[in-house]
């Protein structure tokens, strides 16, 4: 019954969606973005192919490879599952429960985004040196990835309604059953989108797993570059990673496809009941506090302990730190802009149109996220030298690399926020004589802006922490905070690294703060 209600309200707003063919301009732009996203894939095929079939077979049949594959899949599954189990209740509390210091919890929930996985892992290792292997990697990667689920689900809950739950309750369903029938379908696409980002991220992660000595495909790829000096070995292993990423993306699409068709948008029904927790307030707050405390509090505490060492402060070059901070800001902002430009046509296409081509374009857009940064970095070295040699080793190419690497993080946000804009509003605009582009700019983009901004911020915060592609593509002599950090941890000079690590977390906390509910509130305020 409640499903029918949702179906009808969704049908009212998205009746025409998916039936019309996509406009040529949009499709062309999406295809261009898709071509850009496939640069790393083309590169991989070229490199993997250059070794010949024999090399591929030798590498793939090494006795260790099945173990690496199993480790990779197990870790990605476990981290993704745990992030959903923690992220959805967290989002629910943030969006629907009456909590003291509500904004504070919203900000804290987003803050783990600011902590690079290698820093979190380092913080844990400094505290408990015996940590290693699967459980340590699972713990740290889960801690830093939970916001990828929490943020979109909280946004979906805020935009959604409890009206359907109420219908289910009046028809005699218990509260859990009512949630399952009324609210879960509304947040399912957001949950899946977040889970997809987590899963692809874990596939490509190198920093934490290498510190915890958990052998996965990315560590093997790094070893192939590090010791065999054989690029085709590395490319063959990376191709395996791409195949895994394709499975993950297709799986998410299949799961979402059904959900999206049944429950498009429920705009216009946004009645929300706030839940009073009463005796459950303390446990709820404990749940909200534990992830930020372990993901942010612990590494920051370790950093401060290091920071207070006299030698660290004496050795600090303030001008150097300032320049690295500026570089980091400019490059990540540039990366976010480029990622948005690439992700917009793909996200809008995926939100408004269906079909095999649309699905393929969206899938390819996501794949770069499943690749280790070193592979994407090398592919862009290859690309920029053969296409734009004049721009090689300029900031522009590095920002472009960030755009390619992280545009998947913006695609989901753009898609879901565009899908929530009723097409009937666009139709009204068209009947008033506005053109397609004008309508998009005046109606769709304006209403979807919080989502689009969130996508850009997510890219920016990730780009700030990026290391392997930055090492390869940066202009010679240009340092970012992540590079400075790397240069200092490399000589085991953790003390000297502390100021850079602290600044990086601080700077990355700004977009993370804006991504939390607090940031959203302000954006809304500006609009009116």
């Amino acid at each position: 019954m409640s499903e029918q209600v949702a179906t009808r309200s969704a049908a009212a707003t998205t009746a025409t969606a998916g039936r019309r063919p996509a406009p040529r301009l949009l499709l062309a732009l999406a295809l261009i973005a898709c071509a850009v996203a496939s640069i790393p894939l083309v590169y991989l095929v070229v490199r993997a192919g250059s070794g010949g079939l024999d090399a591929a077979i030798t590498v793939l049949f090494r006795p260790r490879v099945p173990q690496l594959l199993l480790n990779t899949v197990t870790l990605a599954t476990a981290v993704t599952g745990t992030c959903v189990l923690i992220g959805v209740p967290t989002a629910f509390l943030l969006a629907r429960a009456r909590l003291p210091l509500r904004r504070l919890w919203a900000v804290l929930a987003a803050l783990p985004l600011a902590v690079p996985s290698y820093l979190a892992a380092y913080g844990w290792l400094a505290t408990a040196p015996a940590l290693h292997g699967f459980w340590a990697s699972w713990l740290v990667l889960t801690l830093v990835s939970v916001p990828y689920v929490t943020l979109p689900v909280a946004a979906a809950l805020r935009a959604g309604t409890t009206g359907l739950d109420d219908v289910a309750r009046t028809l005699g369903r218990g509260p859990w059953r009512a949630f399952w029938l009324g609210t879960w379908p509304q947040i399912r696409p957001a949950t899946l989108a977040g889970a997809l980002l987590v899963c692809l991220y874990v596939l490509s992660e190198f920093g934490a797993v290498s510190l915890f000595r958990f052998p996965v495909l990315t560590t093997a790829i790094q070893q192939a570059y590090g010791a065999s000096f054989n690029r085709s070995y590395a490319a063959i292993l990376a191709t395996v990673l791409v195949l895994l990423a394709i499975l993950v993306v297709l799986g998410e699409q299949a799961a979402r496809g059904r959900a999206a068709r049944r429950f498009g948008s429920v705009a216009g029904m946004a009645r929300q009941r706030v839940i009073r927790l009463k005796n459950w307030t303390a446990p709820a707050i404990a749940l909200l506090a534990v992830v930020p405390a372990l993901a942010v509090g612990l590494p920051v505490a370790v950093l401060f302990a290091r920071l207070l060492e006299a030698e660290t402060l004496r050795a600090l070059d303030v001008a150097d730190l300032g320049q690295a901070t500026l570089n980091t800001l400019a490059l990540s902002a540039g990366g976010a802009l480029i990622a948005l430009l690439l992700a917009l046509p793909i996200g809008v296409l995926a939100a408004r149109y269906r079909g095999r081509l649309v699905r393929a374009v969206e899938s390819i857009g996501y794949l770069a996220l499943g690749l280790p940064g070193i592979v994407v970095g090398l592919s862009l070295v290859f690309f920029s030298l053969s296409v734009l040699p004049g721009l090689y080793q300029t900031a522009l190419v590095l920002a472009f690399a960030y755009g390619v690497l992280f545009m998947p993080k913006a695609i989901g946000a753009i898609r879901s926020s565009t899908a929530q804009v009723p097409t009937s509003l666009e139709d009204v605009s068209r009947t008033l004589g506005y053109g397609k582009l004008q309508t998009w700019w005046l109606v769709t983009a304006r209403l979807a802006r919080p989502g689009i901004a969130a996508g850009g911020l997510l890219v920016a915060v990730t780009a700030m922490k990026e290391l392997p592609a930055t090492l390869l593509l940066r202009p010679t002599g240009t340092d970012t905070l992540a590079i400075e950090l790397w240069a200092r941890t490399d000589v085991s000079a953790y003390g000297a690294a502390a100021p850079y690590a602290a600044t990086l977390i601080l700077v990355a906390a700004v977009p993370a703060f804006l991504l939390s509910g607090a940031g959203r509130g302000r954006l809304d305020g500006v609009r009116t």
Binding site: A330, L378, P389, A395, T476, G477, R527
Partner: protein, 347 residues
């Protein structure tokens, strides 16, 4: 509406300013400067720590007036980068942590020959066989042991002992690390393929602790997580410089005469596009000059390769350590080593 437009404008301005300010040196200019005469400028890819190399470069510039544009990275990443750049590289000199990377550039035809009078300075076995690169410093493979659990006498004198049941689960190393693999190559050359196969099998069945790097291995020993680690000697000195020698729980044991105590070298090559560049040559000459070699001895505790320069105090003589006239940049041999490690699931 006003606020977002202001934000957008401000954002774009910051972005434009930022991107131009961090644009750094344009590679097109560097590439254009590859003439036969000295242009007083040199682009270096340095696969070693910036904190270590930057002061050396500063001295070089003071002495010669040649400006060095240095790009830092790990040797393996810069090696991958150079292979990808090919002849289009802006780099004139590559300074590498290990010989294998230099060998791969040489195989790809990307390096220029080192002039004979320079190449001759470094004794055979510590430099390339075909003058495609030159050895700069040496680092010994050593055993790092937990000084609180073990005395020096209890630590084996040879890696052969490490496959005994007594050391089950107590030995760690980084199988993917280039210098670890050089040691296995040395074992194959010195003791023969059969013995090497038996040793790798033995150690793989002795529940080894596998790490991603020498540094990580040493950290484990130093924090009491691991009894014995196979590493390069200078990592210990780097850590000791940070926390003081007294603060080091890990202690070193050198293995004179054993394959497990062999010597790896770091080296440098001139990229083929800079074959005639006098600045590049001058930089290499500086690295193997007495001043250059002393700098490494004093700052990294590595072995100097130029005869006549004394090794760091307290280290066994370079001659007492196994070298076996290995060609450390022989990649075909390296590949055999990797197959051996892969056979027993270590790689």
């Amino acid at each position: 509406m006003r606020a977002p437009r202001f934000l957008t404008t401000a954002g774009i301005t910051i972005l434009a300013l930022g991107l131009t300010s961090c644009a750094g040196a344009s590679p097109a200019e560097d590439a254009a400067a590859e003439s036969t005469g000295s242009d007083g400028e040199l682009t270096l890819y340095a696969g070693r720590d910036e904190a270590l190399i930057a002061p050396l470069i500063e001295k070089f510039t003071d002495d010669t007036g040649i400006e060095v544009i240095a790009r830092y990275g790990s040797s393996s990443e810069l090696n991958a980068l150079l292979l990808e750049e090919g002849d289009n590289t802006p780099a004139q000199v590559f300074l590498s942590q290990d010989a294998g990377a230099l060998g791969s550039l040489s195989n790809a035809g990307l390096v220029a020959k080192i002039p004979e009078q320079l190449a001759e300075l470094i004794p055979a076995g510590f430099t390339s066989e075909d003058d495609s690169w030159i050895g700069i410093t040496g680092r010994a493979r050593v055993i790092a042991y937990d000084g609180e659990k073990l005395s020096e006498e209890e630590v084996p004198d040879a890696v052969d002992d490490l496959i005994a049941p007594e050391w089950n689960g107590r030995v760690g190393f980084a199988p993917g690390n280039a210098s670890m693999q050089s040691f296995v190559t040395a074992y194959r050359v010195l003791e023969g393929e059969e013995a090497a196969d038996a040793w790798v099998q033995g150690i793989s069945e002795n529940s080894p602790v596998l790490t991603e790097s020498n540094g990580a291995t040493l950290d484990l020993v130093n924090s009491g997580q691991l009894d014995i680690g196979l590493i390069n000697h200078y990592y210990w000195f780097e850590d000791a410089a940070e926390v003081g020698a007294d603060g080091m729980r890990a202690q070193l044991k050198f293995l004179p005469g054993d394959a497990g105590g062999m010597v790896n070298v770091t080296g440098a090559a001139i990229l083929s596009s800079a074959a005639e560049d006098p600045d590049a040559l001058e930089f290499l000459e500086y690295l193997v000059s007495e001043a250059g070699q002393r700098y490494f001895v004093e700052n990294t505790f590595e072995y100097p390769l130029l005869p006549g320069v004394d090794a760091p105090e307290g280290l066994p003589k370079l001659e007492s350590l196994v070298n076996a006239d290995l060609d450390l940049s022989n990649l075909a041999s390296l590949e055999q080593t990797q197959e051996l490690l892969a056979k027993y699931g270590l790689l």
